[in-house]
């Protein structure tokens, strides 16, 4: 072990960073692959089917087979399309979905870039994602793609406002933009986590997250029954797969952020109770994974349960319901913070 550590310290800093990034991205991509399988399985069982069960034991190799199939498919670039923008669009959509993970902490100190503007960086990068959508829709030069991109872009920016206000609430409560500080501000017990004082913001954050990723019931941008697939209708093979990866990586990102900001990240849910020592053998990042998985399951659950919203309903929910509630609750939280209200804002929890 000490030998390995001495080798690690001999490596140049850039190589160390690269190895950390690989150690993050590879499991993430595996997670994305198996999230697609989980989605088909979960929705299958919710609809009393079995889902994919042919490739490998009970369908366990299905994502690998899908990836190989997409890799061997032709990448069609339609004649009317703007070739360069058409190629750039998938890159523009996967880049922010991956790069935002640089500031996500998995445990105390287990983070690639521990910057003090963490949450601002996350907000900036998730905002960039909309460029991928709108460039793809415009560059395809196809009516379905353009309509899908417009709808998607308008929806994403509308919900980004509600999401941003929810983030401001978290920053108010924690007094920091650094995600590690935000998690540590929640230590104490499960009641100290921010889901309780910020409950409306928590609910709105997660719903806005579902809308941001264009998932059901907000999947009007894809709307299979009216505009076939939305902005990526003209994409095929690996170019389409990149959009797919980005969407799922974004889902995992939103879930991980919700777990970090509202459910105490890697903190044990039994902190401060007699059960704490019983579960002390669980490594902290397992708690984060468990909480993230819970949110991911909700994504799938929503898709199996809710019918699709109409476009005017989506815009009304975003602008006329979420924004007034978030502004109001922001003032409530600010008032509590200024008056150092126990048990969350008296500074003793941190």
């Amino acid at each position: 072990m000490e030998f390995l550590i001495s080798i690690w310290e001999m490596l140049p800093v850039t190589v160390q960073i690269l190895m950390k990034i690989v150690a993050l991205v590879l499991p993430l991509m595996l997670g994305v692959a198996y999230l697609t399988l989980a989605e088909r399985k979960v929705i299958g069982y919710m609809q009393v089917r079995v889902g994919p069960n042919r490739v490998g034991f009970k369908g366990i190799l299905q994502p690998i087979a899908d990836a190989l199939k997409l890799l061997m498919k032709e990448i069609v670039i339609p004649n009317p399309a703007n070739r360069y923008l058409f190629i750039i669009a998938p890159v523009m959509s996967i880049m922010p979905a991956l790069a935002a993970w640089a500031v996500i902490p998995f445990d105390e100190g287990m983070v690639i870039a521990n910057i003090n503007a963490g949450l601002l960086y996350v907000l900036a990068l998730t905002s960039l994602g909309v460029y991928g959508v709108i460039i793809a829709g415009w560059a395809s030069n196809s009516k379905y793609a353009l309509l899908g991109a417009l709808r998607s872009a308008a929806q994403v920016v509308s919900y980004e406002i509600a999401m941003g206000f929810a983030l401001v609430g978290v920053i108010l409560a924690a007094g920091s933009l650094n995600l590690t500080d935000i998690v540590q501000g929640q230590s104490g017990s499960a009641l100290h986590w921010y889901w309780l004082p910020l409950l409306p913001l928590f609910v709105i954050y997660f719903i806005a997250g579902v809308a941001e990723t264009n998932r059901a019931p907000f999947d009007i941008a894809e709307g299979e029954s009216e505009i076939v697939a939305g902005f990526h209708v003209d994409y095929s093979g690996m170019a389409f797969a990149i959009f797919f990866l980005a969407e799922y990586a974004n889902m995992i990102l939103i879930s991980a952020l919700a777990a970090l900001m509202f459910l105490g990240g890697w903190l044990s849910p039994f902190q401060g109770t007699p059960l704490e020592s019983v579960f002390s053998f669980v490594p902290p990042f397992m708690w984060l994974l468990a909480k993230t998985s819970f949110f991911l399951f909700c994504f799938l659950w929503f898709r199996a349960t809710f019918p699709r919203y109409r476009y005017d309903q989506i815009m009304r929910l975003g602008w006329k319901v979420f924004i007034p509630i978030t502004i109001f609750w922001l003032l409530v939280v600010a008032f509590c913070v200024v008056n150092k209200m126990p048990i969350w804002f008296d500074g003793k929890g941190a």
Partner: protein, 118 residues
């Protein structure tokens, strides 16, 4: 201070290459048999009626403009939220006035019908 951002720079490069490399691999491994029909824009099997660079609904622009205003508010609230614990009650009331003016504008937009989609 700035060296904290080196991992982010490297991560951005890795993330971009993560978009490019699979597409290159797909381009090299996949077949390439273009035909005129295959390369036409997808329109459910119909011939393309007219150009797709068409006029779009004005409300999309309206949403974009409103978004810019509100997104700037959020960017403005971020530093205030970080230091509120230090600046105390004075900071709270200053931002209250600011948010009040913002809400007046928001109500005006609402009454004018800028948020309607029917």
């Amino acid at each position: 201070m700035l060296e904290n951002y080196l991992p982010i720079l490297i991560f951005l490069i890795v993330a971009i290459s993560f978009g490019i490399v699979p597409m290159l691999a797909g381009y090299l491994l996949g077949p390439s048999k273009p035909s005129e029909e295959k390369l036409s824009a997808y329109e459910c099997g119909f011939e393309t009626f007219d150009d797709s660079r068409m006029r779009v609904d004005i409300r999309y622009y309206l949403v974009a403009i409103l978004f810019i205003i509100f997104d700037l508010e959020i960017a403005f609230l971020f530093p205030w939220a970080v230091v509120l614990q230090e600046i105390g009650i004075m900071g709270f009331w200053s931002m209250f006035v600011f948010l009040f003016i913002l809400v007046v504008g928001f109500i005006y937009e609402w009454k004018k019908g800028a948020l309607e989609w029917e």
